[in-house]
Symmetry: C2
Subunit: 138 residues, 2 copies
DNA sequence: AAAGTGATGCAATGGAAGTGCATTTATAAT
DNA sequence: ATTATAAATGCACTTCCATTGCATCACTTT
C-alpha cells in the first residue's frame, strides 16, 4: 500500500486504477485543470467517470473547485496549507490572460473583507487576472 | 431627446426601442441579471438580440459582466462610482446563497492584493457568498 | 431616392454539466 | 471459495447557456 493509497483510505475514498491515475495527473500539474484537460489526458476513459471521480475527490476534500471567470470550472489538488473548509484559510487564484492557465497561490491568503450590515459572509472567491511569471518574463 | 438617449449618444450607442427597454429594465433592477432574466422579461424579443445588445452595452462600458460562481454570467449597469476599466475602482459582488441574487456592492472597494514577483495583476474578481440583508433578517 | 451601415430575427451549432440505467468490479459476509 | 452487497464505470441522453452565420429590416447619409 503506497502513499497515495494510504491517503485515499484516510479520506475514505476507495482505491481504483482510474482514481490513482487521475490523482497522479493532478499532482503532476502545477496548475488547475478543466474536465476537458483530464479527458484529453485519458482518452480511453469515459467522461462521466472522470466527472464523477472529480466530484468524489471534491466531496472528500481532495481537490477544490476553482471558478476563474473563464466560465469553465477548474480543479486543483488541495495541498498542504489548503484547508478548503475554513474561510480564513482560503487562498486566492491567479488566472493568466496570456497562457490561460490558472494557478493556486496557496501562500497568499485572502484579506479580511468587510460586508455591509445584514450581510453574512460564508465564502469568498478571489481571482486575480493578469500575466503570470512565465509569460511576463520578469 | 431624453436622458437615456443622451447617455447612449455619449457612449456612442445607437438608440433603438429595444435598447431603451433593456436599459430601463436593468436600471430598475437592483441586482445583477442573467440573459435568461432579460429573456423572460421580453418574451417578444429574440434571445440573440438581447445577447448582442448586452454585448454592445458591455463594449461601451454601460454594463459590466459578473461571474458570481453560479456558472451563469450576470450583468449589471455600471453606476456612478463604477468605473470598470480602472483596476483600483473595482468593487466587489455579493452572491446570496439563499435567494440566489447577486448584488454590486459599489461602495466596497477591493483591497490591495499582493501577487508574487513576476506576476502582473490586471484585473480582480472578488465575489463574497453568503446570506444577503433581505434573507438574513438582521 | 439610393446606397450603405448597423440592428434584428431565425436557425443552428458547440461546449460543458448533469442524470438514468445497465454492467462490471471490488468489498463484505457466509 | 462462493455468494451477496455495494460501489465504480461506461454508454446514451438531456439540458442549459453561449455563440455564430445569414438573411432581412431599419435607419442614416448623401
Amino acid at each position: 500500500m503506497n502513499e497515495i493509497e494510504k491517503f485515499f483510505a484516510l479520506k475514505d475514498v476507495r482505491v481504483t486504477a482510474m482514481r490513482l491515475l487521475i490523482y497522479k495527473f493532478l499532482a503532476d500539474k502545477q496548475v488547475a485543470v478543466t474536465l476537458s484537460d483530464i479527458e484529453n489526458a485519458f482518452e480511453k476513459a469515459d467522461r462521466t467517470t472522470l466527472y464523477r471521480t472529480i466530484k468524489t475527490f471534491e466531496d472528500k476534500a481532495i481537490v477544490h473547485q476553482i471558478d476563474d471567470g473563464t466560465g469553465i470550472t477548474k480543479y486543483a489538488l488541495c495541498e498542504k496549507g489548503c484547508n478548503c473548509e475554513i474561510e480564513a484559510d482560503l487562498h486566492l487564484h491567479f488566472h493568466c490572460n496570456n497562457c490561460n492557465e490558472t494557478i493556486c497561490l496557496t501562500e497568499h491568503k485572502i484579506p479580511q473583507i468587510k460586508v455591509p450590515n445584514g450581510f453574512v459572509s460564508e465564502d469568498i472567491n478571489l481571482v486575480v487576472k493578469g500575466i503570470c511569471d512565465k509569460c511576463s518574463g520578469l
